[in-house]
Symmetry: C2
Subunit: 340 residues, 2 copies
């Protein structure tokens, strides 16, 4: 039955006809999941290879506004989970998607988010195979929250792990930093900032595969989301038992992001990203890694930003443009709230 309601009501979460109509009309007609049971039943030959491992991860997405320049909460929900799989060296295969919807949410908005998820999933080469829908009273969530979980396969013998980073390894990012955080901040409107900034929200699976093919000695990778590059590098350095020295001049930043940060007194190293890869590779493979990344649309801005050094007093330092050194700590207080 076609869905005639224009807004979601509590009945759409009740488990009855209204829910079935909403799910069929808005979700399963687009995602086209396999089978009719409450669970997806799947297999992929690569999972059955001796030595292969399954990768499993999840993230909830609560970004507000739910649509913003360069993306929306649906696109982020696909990219974020695909990227958590990809940076661990897994080939992303299947996603689940669970929606918590506020009573009164426009059905047209849900359709746009679902279309955006389907588009991004196709691009990333994953299928959205199972899901759930709950409806909460008006005021009990901000329009819609989406939680995705993802399953992927790690080929035999591949073992990306921050603990394998050694002094001398080179740190590379795939493009400019902080676009997502700055774009969301501007999109909120409270600050009356007008910019052309777009979120960098994108899937990194294909980029990771190209990188590993070109630089098989790649040690570890992360996507620098909440807490920004600074927090991500601190985590990696601590796991590795090394320190990391960044070169301020080498950090890729758009003038607009620098501008937003200067006006608001923010440090771009703490701005969130949603499609930014930080990867450590052996020095001997750095040029091959850069070339492979730059050949992909997601990695055109790839550059070296620093390197691992023997463990020092602090995990991450920055050599400033003036020749000094400053500590780059983990984020201590609040992130720009609700950026993912």
């Amino acid at each position: 039955m076609p869905l005639r309601d224009q807004r979601v009501t509590l009945a759409h979460g009740g488990g009855g006809k209204a829910m079935r109509d909403l799910i069929e009309s808005v979700f399963t007609s687009v995602f086209n999941p396999p089978g009719m049971e409450d669970q997806a039943r799947l297999m992929d030959a690569r999972l059955q290879e001796p030595g292969a491992r399954l990768a499993f991860t999840t993230d909830s997405f609560v970004v507000t506004p739910v649509e913003f320049p360069g993306g929306d909460i649906g696109k982020i929900a696909v990219c974020g989970t695909v990227n958590d799989l990809a940076v661990g060296g897994a080939k992303p295969l299947w996603l689940s998607a669970s929606f918590i919807i506020e009573e009164g949410c426009e059905v047209a908005l849900l359709r746009r988010l679902v279309a955006s998820m389907a588009r991004e999933a196709a691009k990333a080469g994953v299928r959205i195979v199972t899901g759930d829908t709950k409806v909460v009273n008006r005021g009990a969530c901000d329009t819609v929250y989406i939680t995705t979980a993802g399953v992927g396969v790690i080929p035999p013998g591949r073992d990306l792990d921050a603990r394998s980073i050694r002094p001398g390894d080179v740190a590379i990012v795939n493009h400019v930093l902080g676009d997502h955080g700055a774009a969301i901040l501007a999109a909120r409107g409270d600050l009356m900032l007008s910019t052309d900034l777009e979120s960098d929200c994108q899937s990194l699976g294909h980029l990771m595969e190209a990188l590993i093919a070109a630089a098989p000695g790649t040690k570890a990778a992360r996507d620098a989301t909440r807490g920004g590059l600074a927090s991500t590098l601190n985590e990696m350095a601590e796991a590795a038992g090394c320190s990391v020295e960044l070169d301020e001049i080498a950090l890729p930043l758009r003038p607009e992001v620098k501008g937003v940060c200067e006006i608001l007194g923010l440090d771009p190293l703490y701005l969130a990203n949603e499609g930014t890869l930080v990867v450590f590779v052996p020095e001997a493979e750095a040029q091959a890694a850069l070339a492979a990344m730059r050949a992909m649309p997601e990695g055109q801005g790839a550059c070296i930003i620093g390197r691992a050094v023997p463990k020092a007093h602090v995990p991450v330092t920055l050599r400033t443009a003036f020749g000094g050194t400053r500590i780059v700590d983990m984020l201590v207080g609040e992130q720009l709230p609700r950026i993912c």
Copy 2:
């Protein structure tokens, strides 16, 4: 570092030190997930058997109040996803758990929920291997929402599917109906009902294994959650292309649940359950199925409630105690809101 805060603040969702402290102190110290990367890396020999399939499912949980007689939102989040795997014939292996937490939520409450999840996971024989935490502004969720996803393995040759139900197959439930819905309703307190009812929230994985071992011809199973037994049977009947005839006298109901329903004008067939199995087995295996279920704590109240019949005008009918027949439709309007 031990967590000194008594309530969750936005900083605990920011991706920095406060978030790491919250996650380590409250979540990973209890769940003890494998590895240090953003993803769990796993394998189970049963997944690599020729013909084995992977089962994947997800559910979000938004029940209010978050603690209630017989359970809490954490226990439900484990049972619900374990059960979605189990009723499809899968052995549940691994869960993800993602938390959306309201600013101001008590850390002590989170610790109770996490302990409850760990307890239920151990009972069900699954591991919580990966997770996420987001914090939203005060008022942007009801204390805490939990989304779990689950991965399990379906042994070679097993294919439970509602489409395989045939006229003559017998419908069995594992125990009394409606306890969860009635208990939540009473726990809300608005209705000034005082009852001893407890939610039936429980994991059904072990019961399903015992059932299939005793009745290998088992056709299909579901857990009758939102929308109650009525909606679940309608879905199964429609998938099967049969009708289902229930016997009112055979329906197991506690007098207290009947009482709550009579006072409020509700039909217990539409009350939600969180540990109630509906299963169709060939008539020849019905006694074996009943015996196997009754031998387990989760199935002590197992009984036959009806049977599949050739397709009629409506999917589900009830033979009343007075010898009449009434239509048992899917839930049309609202469920008692937010029961899972």
